[in-house]
Symmetry: C4
Subunit: 124 residues, 4 copies
């Protein structure tokens, strides 16, 4: 298949609640960047995280193999530093090949889960 996507993406919203109704990984409050690499070359992605009152964190480096998707949880980022909880952030993705990025939050602060999702902003 031909490549589909763009090389730079931004997600302006970001917030991981510290509370969760469940300790089950699937139902833990989390935010995800779903990254599709539909092309035939590995995608090397550098992720930078922006905050309200400090310099950005990163780059975080992830690799998405050819013809694979990676649903990357911001909660799982560790290197160079974890994403703080209950904190406003944004993120920018830079890839060496075209990718598609979609943003999702599962929020389980209350007894019932709530979801949000949007395509990210693409450029380049």
């Amino acid at each position: 298949m031909d490549q589909i996507g763009r090389k730079r993406w931004a997600i302006a919203e970001g917030y991981i609640p510290s509370e969760s109704v469940s300790s089950d990984r699937a139902l833990l409050s989390h935010e995800t960047a779903c990254i599709l690499n539909a092309g035939d070359r590995e995608a090397n992605v550098a992720l930078t995280v922006y905050f309200a009152d400090r310099e950005p964190a990163g780059p975080y480096r992830v690799t998405v193999p050819p013809r694979r998707t990676l649903h990357l949880r911001f909660n799982d980022l560790k290197d160079p530093e974890p994403i703080p909880l209950d904190t406003d952030y944004s993120s920018v993705f830079e890839s060496d090949v075209p990718i598609v990025v979609q943003h999702t939050r599962l929020d389980s602060r209350r007894a019932e889960i709530s979801l949000l999702s949007t395509i990210a902003y693409a450029q380049g």
Copy 2:
């Protein structure tokens, strides 16, 4: 009416929960690709599904008649293979005429349903 839409679309998010509070088809946990063909020619759409750790599935082939919408449930895909539950995936749609694609999940793992939706990523 003139055609509206694009020929290639991608949805980076994909996840069908195996649990549902209800066995009513309307309230069963499901993901949908809503496909609008507003033009005067039939749309022949090939759908490829990407995973985290295996080669893609598909193509799945669906047809949308002229001036019709198809709300295609990923849960209903059977040929060449069903979409596994509780599994991260992404999808790419290739049509021979312009279409518009929007992605939706109804999640009823908990007692109350939760919804997410986004326009898909368009190209071509």
Copy 3:
């Protein structure tokens, strides 16, 4: 202010549940097309609604005054015909001046409400 927006928009998703936990208008299950006309000329908008198994309905005609927003409930459309409940649909908007369209559902089939929203697809 300069105009902002496009003249043609499409929303591929559409579904108004017939059930609602409340008869309060605010909490009744509904879908809305939020239409912003930020320009200095009246927007004359023709709306066509597409279905899975019949010819489209419409055009429905709405007017958005200059520098105004109209949060149009699909539930409220009556002329030429109401939108059927529990039925898959899509919609296309054609305006004579640039507008911005966003789609929202409030779903109150269950005891708690659920929301979805996305920017519509723009063209022209």
Copy 4:
């Protein structure tokens, strides 16, 4: 990093419910415009709010420092006037440097929260 984003953005949906299940700021019903300024120059943003039946309010002026995100609550706008509750509105953002804008509502009218989010419409 290079700049990412656009200078004009619009959000057609807008509605802040007056009711909330909790008086905790995090769980109060609110709408947010998440604004990312990934560039190296301060972003001076003018925000105009549109209504169904009166002239627009604003401009509201906010500043986003270089390499920072601002999750701006519409509930917090005070100057030149607060945003009325239970009222349909839309918003337009004009910045002197590229920014990225995403729209979110947390709705806690009922016992469980509900979320919606979408990338805003970009132009310029």
